[in-house]
Symmetry: C2
Subunit: 78 residues, 2 copies
């Protein structure tokens, strides 16, 4: 799955602990941990917006797309 969760970097930059963030946005520590480590297969926008709000960032700061090298065919080059 070429979606990568880059929440940790934002967390660190904010100097916030996962536990604090979880409490602040009302999400279980358990789930936040799973989310942070990319063990989750999707996200509700309600959760995503809480994260963005608490961290003062954009969705793109938390969720990134890593193109598969094999998928470069998609790009119209050459």
């Amino acid at each position: 799955m070429p979606i990568r969760i880059t929440l940790d970097e934002v967390l660190a930059r904010k100097g916030l602990k996962a536990k604090q963030l979880a409490e602040q946005i009302g999400v279980s520590q358990t789930h936040l941990s799973l989310f942070r480590s990319g063990k989750v297969k999707g996200v509700r926008f309600s959760t995503l917006s809480k994260l963005c709000m608490a961290l003062g960032c954009a969705p793109g700061d938390l969720i990134q797309y890593d193109p598969d090298p094999g998928d470069l065919l998609t790009v119209d080059e050459e």
Copy 2:
């Protein structure tokens, strides 16, 4: 919900029709329409990555966060 779907702009820029995109990534036209118009409450990463791949863009190009004016309390100012 302060999450806004900005897929249409990318679609237009690519000169692609919704139907084509739907077929290309294997998602129903129905669901893609609901997604595009923000009538959906979340997204699976599998779908998100297919969109990014097909459109050659990042998650942040499709999903944006619009802070609620009322939530500015979060920002540490003054």
